[in-house]
Symmetry: C2
Subunit: 151 residues, 2 copies
DNA sequence: CTGTTATAGTTGCAATTGCAACTATCACTC
DNA sequence: GAGTGATAGTTGCAATTGCAACTATAACAG
């Protein structure tokens, strides 16, 4: 009764564990690189990046939350910090009295630009270093497939 | 001057982002599955698993830390919780007066066994569901390569 | 031995996260 | 337009994490 197993195959288990570990270590490396350069954590970058895609456009808070995968209360307080640093501006939304719209400030744009070289270099080293171009493509495809499955 | 770029290629960046996102979502799914079954978080499983590989053998605290990728103070307190629940036993090490040795209890073994079906089913669904056998092999290989690079 | 440095682990404190409860507005139905 | 349920966001509180300082032992050089 092959297909009825509820446990994963050995290959899947091994891949899962390697995925878990490497992700943990990769993330730690990136965070360490940012910290070493006296820069804020990755979560700040993510939010700033989303906002800087179209710097003029206001984003609703929940839109940011969807893109960055942050729970709303969590995002609420992250934005508190970002706003306190003058990196974003949060205003009441006139078309929806419950909500806020958020825009990035000049200072926020600048910070994101300062973060990117450090972040980018880390990605380059950690991904392009050990992997061939074919592997990178393959990694991208596989991760996309995993993501599809999570919708 | 192609090779001198400090930014990652578009493919590498895309793969990185997909990796980041999928890992985040996968982990959330697994944790949610455990919680839904009234089971403790994944970190507990990891520690219990390492200890249950040879249930008779005592492990030094730092050995657990190495295998589970947990900072020492973090592990120290996680073991506090596990010990408080009677899942592990922590004793002074006689061959090294600074250290502790940790063993898993019957109750700890039983908990790990109760966790595995839930965890395993989640892995099966999340990894084997969307990926072909070849992709799973490929994923394992790629993650290994990334890990190698992190030594 | 004695002094120095490294290792194992714990603890206090601040920052972050997760959860549940709460407020306010919106959208929809009757 | 009053009532109901959903949505956007905030807040309080407890649990977890990260960091730095601390204790105690070990290991090693002279």
């Amino acid at each position: 009764m092959e297909g009825m197993e509820k446990s994963p195959s050995a290959a899947a288990e091994q891949a899962w564990i390697a995925l878990l570990r490497s992700q943990q270590l990769l993330l730690a490396r990136v965070e360490a690189a940012l910290k070493a350069a006296d820069l804020p954590p990755l979560a700040w970058y993510d939010v700033l990046l989303e906002l800087s895609r179209e710097p003029e456009t206001e984003l609703r808070q929940f839109e940011i939350g969807e893109r960055v995968l942050l729970s709303k209360h969590n995002l609420s307080r992250l934005l508190d910090r970002l706003a306190a640093e003058g990196l974003v501006k949060r205003q009441a939304c006139d078309s929806d009295g419950r909500g806020n719209v958020v825009t990035i400030t000049k200072k926020g744009l600048q910070l994101r630009e300062r973060m990117w070289p450090v972040y980018g270099a880390a990605i380059k080293e950690l991904i392009e270093g050990p992997l061939s171009a074919a592997q990178i493509r393959s990694l991208g495809d596989i991760m996309q497939a995993l993501l599809q499955n999570l919708r």
